[in-house]
């Protein structure tokens, strides 16, 4: 094992444990904090494979923005705490499916790439920028428009409507409350 691999095993082990705790935690806020840990460890993995720009983008956008958004929505929606209210009845089937996906992927990876090594060389931020603006200008612009559309869409969806005649009207996209079956 090279020193990179030792560091990788430590970082990835912490990240995997945090991911497991994230999907099994009984408390939604704890789950969000485990998500922070997982995302930070993924950023550490990016640093270890010398993709430093991506690592800092990961920290800024995921750990900085997305987790804060998730925590805000957890605060705005009263989430009950406890395994019975957070998980549904198909937990066993879900565990089987997850374990099956893991086993299949690990088998395929080991079968195909056993002994393959990556020679690490630092990806300079300037090279990433040149690659974006020389080879991927069109996808870059499409992603910009997508972000703008998502921004406008989120504002339109989450806005409270003010009825013109003074009274407050509720949006009826979701429909009336139904009787809960099961």
């Amino acid at each position: 094992m090279t020193s990179q691999e030792i560091a990788f095993v430590i970082v990835a082990g912490i990240g995997s444990l945090a991911a497991l705790r994230l999907v099994t935690s009984k408390n939604v806020v704890h789950a969000a904090l485990y998500l922070v840990l997982t995302l930070a460890m993924v950023a550490g993995v990016y640093l270890l494979v010398a993709a430093e720009f991506l690592a800092w983008v990961q920290v800024l956008i995921y750990v900085g923005a997305i987790v804060v958004l998730l925590l805000f929505s957890l605060m705005l929606t009263k989430a009950p705490i406890g395994r019975e209210t957070l998980d549904n009845q198909q937990r066993g089937v879900a565990a089987i499916v997850g374990a099956g996906v893991l086993a299949g992927l690990v088998f395929l990876v080991q079968d195909t790439f056993r002994g393959t090594r990556i020679e690490l060389q630092q990806a300079k931020t300037a090279d990433v920028g040149i690659s974006i603006f020389r080879d991927f200008v069109l996808p870059f612009e499409v992603v910009s428009v997508l972000l703008l559309a998502a921004l406008v869409g989120a504002v339109v969806i989450a806005r409270k409507d003010e009825a013109p005649s003074g009274g407050e009207s509720r949006r009826t996209i979701v429909g009336p409350r139904q009787e809960v079956r099961r």
């Binding site: 999907v23 990961q58 080991q110």
Partner: protein, 107 residues
Amino acid sequence: MISLLAATIRLPFLLIFAALLFSCGVYGVLARRNAVLVLMSIELMLNAVNVNLVAFSGYLKTLTGQVFALFVITVAAAEVGIGLAIVILIYRNRETINVDEVNLLKW
């Protein structure tokens, strides 16, 4: 014999880490009832894909994988914004974000 200071890393390590994250995300999406927790599990799966992209970017010695990982991060941000707006709208209308109870489109 690979020396301790050679800057190499085994490719399957990265891919198995990504597979672990992805299967945790699959379990979370299938087993959770809270819509915000389902969104968190989807983030986990997107991160697994990003790890794969970066791993193969290093393996093939091109930067394309890293650029596409950036695009995936951008799309994930847009997806979370829209998803949480929908979740908050559902909560405002029905006072629950339990995905088992939001079954208006179920036949």
